[in-house]
Symmetry: none
Subunit: 213 residues, 2 copies
Amino acid sequence: MDVNVLIYEDNESLRNSLVALLSREKGFHIVGDYPECTDLENHLIHLSPDVILMDIDLPEMNGIDGVKKIRSINTMIHVLMLTVFDDTSSVYDALYAGANGYLLKKYISTRLVTSIKDVLEGGSPMSPAIARLIIDSIKQKGVPKSTLDYNLTSREIDVLVSLAKGNSYKMVADDLTISIDTVRTHIKHVYEKLHVQSQGEAISKALREGLIK
Amino acid sequence: MDVNVLIYEDNESLRNSLVALLSREKGFHIVGDYPECTDLENHLIHLSPDVILMDIDLPEMNGIDGVKKIRSINTMIHVLMLTVFDDTSSVYDALYAGANGYLLKKYISTRLVTSIKDVLEGGSPMSPAIARLIIDSIKQKGVPKSTLDYNLTSREIDVLVSLAKGNSYKMVADDLTISIDTVRTHIKHVYEKLHVQSQGEAISKALREGLIK
DNA sequence: GGCACAATCCCATAAATATGTGATATTTAG
DNA sequence: CTAAATATCACATATTTATGGGATTGTGCC
């Protein structure tokens, strides 16, 4: 068994550490290490990597777009994301883009090698902190408890629901049999409570956080 | 630092292995090991565990119900599920019940100790195969086939995503570095394709049908 | 080569929205 | 009982949207 590893990491000292770390492992062969992934297509063709280590935060083309590019060309290659940040949206973006695993840089030294092996076996290794984020956000979706958090009144929610159906202010007014000015007032309050200033933002926030269904 | 560990595992030889494994670790103190979790309440009160290792497949009360019971009494205790099965529904049930991590038994010998440490730090350690299941099911939910159904172009989706962030036309234009008139045009086309005639309706349809996340 | 389509830009205008200020009646909570 | 919160309505106006035209460029396809 021989595993070809390709590395994209703009921090030079970290990149060198990765190379050093993997070079010591038998069976691992580093076919390339680069500070940016602009030349992805060529690399995929000529270096035939089995596993790609991809930093999220790369200059020029970021790691997320890098994964998308990879997936548009080849769906079999295993991609492990490396990052210092553990924010939910990056994680989701990376996973949706087609990443196979997600490692926080601080754990790399102790877990990179086993994680690469895991990913080769079809698993999705991820640092516990990342897994935690994912689990939390899954749980959130199922339970729309947030309604209380913003202290929306029941009438304000009525208006929001009607709005999200695509109703204009006038239609909302008819829908709830109140005047259009009352609708305006409710919406005004909703915007203040949600800290938004447009219909689009209000509706997407409400839907994403389960304030309305 | 002293970590109190409580173990529920009906397979006696595995249970003994767990005890042996953890006894060797300094700082770990096993406050109890039982083949079933029927006496959970008493154990929680008298043994004051920090971490509970819970087999999914227990006689009498299974591990999932065990976790629920634990969570109804104490939300702080860390619960690590142990299982031989990697089926999606058990994983989800356990996580929704409030489990903090999920380990396949075959990896226990090499990863149990670090996993316990991870969970104490607030992470959610899980075997890569489990993580894979979760990711796959998230992706399924998030991106149904719909994207193709309406034949939105990638640029139209870009605009829609930006809009759903709460951006005005002008901000979308800056975001995507195109002119505001181009934004208008894209939105016009999106509305035609989605059969809607307002931003609110477009955004809620897009979010609900998974066209955007 | 020609055709469909995606992506870009421009102009114009009626309609809708965001936001401020103000008011009144009813309900809720301290 | 009062104060705060809720629900209702009104008026004014600067911005933003929705929607109708029309145009150019590049790409993939037959």
